[in-house]
């Protein structure tokens, strides 16, 4: 993009200077003569040749000057038209940035750009602006236009941090949410027949599918307990930044965090996953596939896991000592969950706590806090990543308190969605 802008603006400048210089030179030196040749009356010389008049009278001189000025004006207008066409065809915001960087010395160039920018601003500003709430996102976009004279998408790309801060300074998010609002959340359980339990969780655009497959295995001799094996797959389908191949660092981090939380919060009663002591236990493979990724993958993944586990029915199984295998019957029991846990993740931007980050926000946040709330509003888990939380102890305490309060509210809304 920048290549295009630089090329055309340099070209443009050189072209303008060159034409101007040529024009001036021609008009000062040769033009009157040229015009004379073309327009003025011819005279027949004594030797019979027809040649233009060499001696001009006052009226003829006046005519020559006037027509050269007219021709120059026409040339100038033609140039303007050509320039205008090039500006329309090239990427206008890119040129505008380049132009503003250089400070545009050339008067004519600036005039062309100004008309362009004015037009773009007028197009971009929403109709009926006065009626909008002062904090609404659309109004903000309009204001950004006025300040920077470039369109919002370009500004977002070139100066993402400043772009985001303009919103956050007014306590509003890019998508119009308040700072502590979560995106709309939907949970759909049991839609996959081939899994023993499943859930699809949508958190705004982020979509995670969790499926549970039950298998049996020999128990670990040291402890009589079943296995729960969570894995997250950040599919290249979900976002352009995910690559195919073995699990990426992000995916590994997510998987191990899920495993950590499932173990540390004691949400699962592993001892009830035993089929026959020392012979057979259940292994629950919890696989989470990301279908669409737009930030806050952890909340979506953990919610999907919990909802899928809630949805899982374990067959009533007995161990067949004669054939050394597990035989499952028709009746089932629900998966042994001790409680419900609901995660809430927050990001920190310049001392402000922001809930449920989108992918764009997540890439710019200074720190992230996750609070996992369990039954009766108690905290089951808390973690933070990134730079320090707040500038002082008091600051951090306040931030954490506000995160916990929001997470508790979130628990009440989400626990109604999971059956």
């Amino acid at each position: 993009m920048s290549d295009v802008a630089e090329l055309s603006s340099v070209d443009y400048f050189a072209y303008a200077v060159a034409t101007w210089a040529t024009g001036t030179a021609v008009s000062l030196l040769g033009f009157p003569r040229l015009i004379t040749t073309l327009l003025l009356p011819y005279e027949k010389h004594a030797n019979g040749e027809v040649l233009p008049k060499t001696e001009l009278n006052g009226f003829e001189k006046f005519l020559a000057t006037q027509s050269s000025i007219a021709l120059l004006a026409a040339a100038y207008l033609l140039l303007q038209l050509v320039d205008w066409l090039t500006v329309v065809n090239a990427d206008p915001p890119a040129i505008a940035i380049q132009a503003s960087k250089r400070g545009i010395r050339n008067h004519r160039t600036r005039r062309v750009f100004r008309s362009q920018l004015l037009r773009r601003q007028r197009d971009a500003r929403p109709a009926g602006q006065g009626a909008l709430h002062p904090n609404s996102a659309a109004e903000l976009v309009g204001r950004i236009h006025q300040k920077t004279q470039m369109d919002a998408a370009t500004y977002r790309r070139l100066r993402p941090r400043e772009y985001l801060n303009r919103y956050l300074d007014s306590d509003v998010r890019v998508d119009g949410r308040a700072l502590l609002d979560f995106r709309s959340t939907a949970v759909n359980q049991g839609s996959i027949d081939t899994a023993n339990g499943s859930a699809v969780v949508r958190l705004g655009n982020t979509t995670m599918v969790a499926g549970i497959k039950l298998k049996t295995a020999l128990p670990d001799p040291s402890r009589e307990a079943g296995y729960v094996v969570p894995n997250v797959d950040l599919n290249p389908l979900a976002n352009a930044k995910f690559k195919s191949g073995p699990p990426s660092d992000d995916a590994q981090f997510l998987s191990s965090r899920l495993n950590d939380i499932l173990l540390s919060t004691a949400v699962i009663d592993h001892t009830r996953l035993v089929i026959e002591p020392r012979k057979a236990v259940w292994v629950a493979y919890v696989d989470v596939t990301c279908i669409n990724y737009d930030g806050n993958g952890f909340d979506a993944a953990l919610l999907a896991v919990i909802a899928a586990l809630k949805n899982t029915q374990i067959p009533q199984a007995t161990y067949d000592f004669d054939h050394d295998k597990v035989v499952a019957g028709d009746s089932t029991t629900p998966f042994p969950l001790n409680k419900l846990i609901v995660p809430s993740s927050f990001g920190l931007f310049g001392g402000k706590l922001v809930a449920d980050l989108t992918d764009f926000e997540q890439s710019l946040s200074e720190a992230q806090v996750t609070v996992v709330i369990t039954d009766k509003g108690s905290i089951a888990h808390m973690s933070s990543q990134g730079h320090s939380l707040g500038s002082s102890i008091d600051d951090s305490t306040q931030l954490i308190a506000s995160a916990i309060n929001t997470a508790k509210e979130r628990y009440t809304t989400i626990s109604k969605l999971i059956s």
């Binding site: 839609s191 996959i192 027949d193 081939t194 899994a195 499943s198 655009n205 979509t207 599918v209 499926g211 549970i212 497959k213 039950l214 298998k215 049996t216 295995a217 020999l218 670990d220 296995y227 094996v229 969570p230 894995n231 797959d233 599919n235 290249p236 389908l237 979900a238 976002n239 352009a240 195919s244 073995p246 699990p247 995916a251 590994q252 998987s255 191990s256 899920l258 495993n259 292994v283 493979y285 696989d287 596939t289 279908i291 669409n292 990724y293 737009d294 067959p315 199984a317 295998k325 597990v326 035989v327 499952a328 019957g329 028709d330 992918d359």
Partner: protein
Amino acid sequence: MNFDRRRVNGPESTHEVFYEKKQSDNVQNKRLSRKDDELRPIFLKPGLISSASGSCYMECGSSKIACAVYGPKQIKNAPYSSTGKLNVEIKHSPFSSVIRRDPVKVGDGCNQTLANASSKELDATHLSNQVTQALLPSLRLDKYEKMQIDVFVTIIQDDSLDFGLMGNITTAAGTALASAGLEMNGLVAGLAVALQADKLLLDPTPAEVRNSQAIMTVCTLPALTQITHIWQAGTLDLSTYKQALSVVESASRNIHTVIAKTLMNESNESDVST
């Protein structure tokens, strides 16, 4: 054996559960509810994946397929080529089939574990080659010099085994390519037909595939009445083959209508919203 330090690993060896009553017994004769040349209803939803250039979610029977198209984007550090490159990657989610597909084992051991379930299942690389072949004639790759188009497919649930699955993936991927606004010759529709006891069964279920003498997947450009790809297993005599193709042709036209309608609705909706 299947230890991978990049994943959370379970116990070393695990076993599938044996059910006293075989679950597949009750789905044996499902054809009673639909005619031999009747398709299962198809649900298509383009534009579900927000960051992709084009995408499509498809349900057919209880198969669930998500498909995303990224690109066309320039291939870096590659020699000049006058045509674009189509790259199809297919992935089964581990819970997509009755027997768990272990992501660690995919590519080597997967087929052996699945051999009990069906000998007609193949791994994803073979499947993606087939789908690439089926999609290539629909795309005008000469318009995308030195570019690459990525098609990612994730199978969330598989209810048709590889032959039917390949047809469904082709339909979904074709729709996603169209929703990405790429230059195309036409919409692709893929469809499987199985020969079982002298009857041609369209869009067969897994049980029907297992009991069939021959099965073939035909991918077509219904608008141009062209066949882009045929994949066949088992033997068919020539007259049955012709009969199968004519059955597929009329059914493909129906699929084409569904795709076209879906895309039309989608573009109308997005016009209204912007």
